[in-house]
Symmetry: C2
Subunit: 270 residues, 2 copies
């Protein structure tokens, strides 16, 4: 999906919500346990319940790889079920030497039909570059992540200026791609950083995890992160998927997704 | 496989060779094309031809994910076929927030029976820690990679001292684990760095890619990287797998693996 279509979808739906499909077999409602195809069925019902409130879905590969080859097949079927009207992010955090990154890119973009892959920047330009050569496809580079460990390296001074590592990543990586094929991950748990980040990358979309279970503040993210064409995809995973532990999980997921969408609606530039 | 067993195997075989199983369908010999199970069959023959010359195998997940669910199954069968007498590294370069990294660790260690997973350090301690809680299993943290892009961030000054980012990674990450559950990736394309790296991590094993097709120098790696219990796993992938494009690929792979092993034998501490 290209940028123009993504932005149009955001304005049409008045939503920049991304639903994280981090489906854990152990957290499935009792009503689904015993189904031969429980994980896919859970995803299917979550997708049906949230389609009109969100513009993107983000399955995290770890949850599927944990189930082996069968999990990989569930991932493929989930991507296929979502279809072409939503922006699909393979949250895979890949990144390897050039010829290997190229294989990952082909797998996620060409074989699976995902729109974007999250990519770790540690190995530099030739590890990210292979994700940038596919029209309408995106590399989403980790910049400032939502977890505690983001303080270990990302927030330390880097290089000869006063810049921190995540700032260097933002500044350098944006020279490898364009706002049409690259986004950045910035965790909602660092709301204080958004105003500053917008000075470095005024036009790039930011994928923002950490709202919901991880405690990030949507209002602060919007106040400092929004651009005239929105420029944000805000992800919630567990707070939507597991809004109810019971047979009403899909209804509860919809209620939570709608709640977030209504909050977002207030921020959509008019 | 625990450290004691790994070191014993290295001394018994006089080899610290790791064979990288980066199998590309497009590079299979004509004699295998058309086999329904060509990628697995290629791996099987390579493994049989090299078992006695190497102590470790390193399949890179990208090459299997590129084939979808079927590729995942080939990966599983390859790991199973290698068996328990070799150290098996899932070259996956994973790393995510804590609850997600834990799923990757369970998948690779418990479900698949790999001994080690390569892990990217960018997200910090809580992204690496979940790989350290499994007896006899290892996290192999990217420090100084073999590719050109290693210069983009890894070789830049980091923090308030004169330290570079990869040095900070080595220094900090070693406080998260021990030489019994953590190794580091250091590319053979940076031989000048090994003496210095050994000052920071005198006891940890280093996984060294970049010998062979990428042009790294084995002698320089050994001169500066060896420890009394070896402390090195040196990987070659393409130079072994594709030593011959013909039906004699397995014989040619064996010849190349033996050549490297005989070079290594001169360096094994006696």
């Amino acid at each position: 999906m290209d940028r123009k279509t993504l932005v149009a979808e955001i304005f049409r739906k008045k939503s920049f919500l991304c639903v994280g499909l981090d489906t854990e077999p152990a957290r499935l409602p009792v009503s689904l346990q015993g189904w031969p195809d429980a994980v896919f069925e859970f995803n299917r019902q979550i997708i049906d319940a949230t389609r009109d409130c969100c513009v993107a879905y983000k399955p995290n590969l770890a949850f599927y790889e944990a189930l082996g080859a069968e999990g990989w097949r569930i991932f493929e079927r989930t991507v296929e079920y979502i279809g072409k009207e939503h922006f699909i992010i393979a949250d895979a955090k890949r990144g390897d030497i050039g010829n290997t990154s190229r294989l990952y890119a082909q797998a996620f973009f060409e074989r699976l039909g995902c729109d974007a892959v999250t990519v770790a920047p540690y190995m530099g330009e030739d590890s990210v570059g292979p994700f940038l050569g596919f029209p309408g496809k995106w590399a989403i580079v980790l910049a400032l992540t939502s977890n505690k460990g983001s303080a270990d390296f990302q927030l330390t001074r880097h290089g000869d200026s006063e810049e921190k590592l995540y700032e260097t990543v933002l500044r350098r990586a944006q020279t490898w791609g364009t706002p049409d094929n690259m986004m950045f991950v910035v965790g909602a748990t660092h709301p204080e950083a958004f105003a500053h980040i917008r000075k470095i990358v005024p036009d790039h979309f930011l994928l923002v995890p950490g709202v919901g279970s991880q405690g990030g503040d949507l209002a602060a993210v919007c106040r400092y992160g929004l651009t005239p064409d929105c420029g944000l995809l805000v992800n919630a995973s567990r707070s939507i998927l597991y809004a109810s532990p019971g047979a009403d999980f899909a209804e509860a997921a919809r209620t939570e997704a709608l709640r977030i969408q209504q909050e977002m609606q207030k921020w959509i530039p008019t």
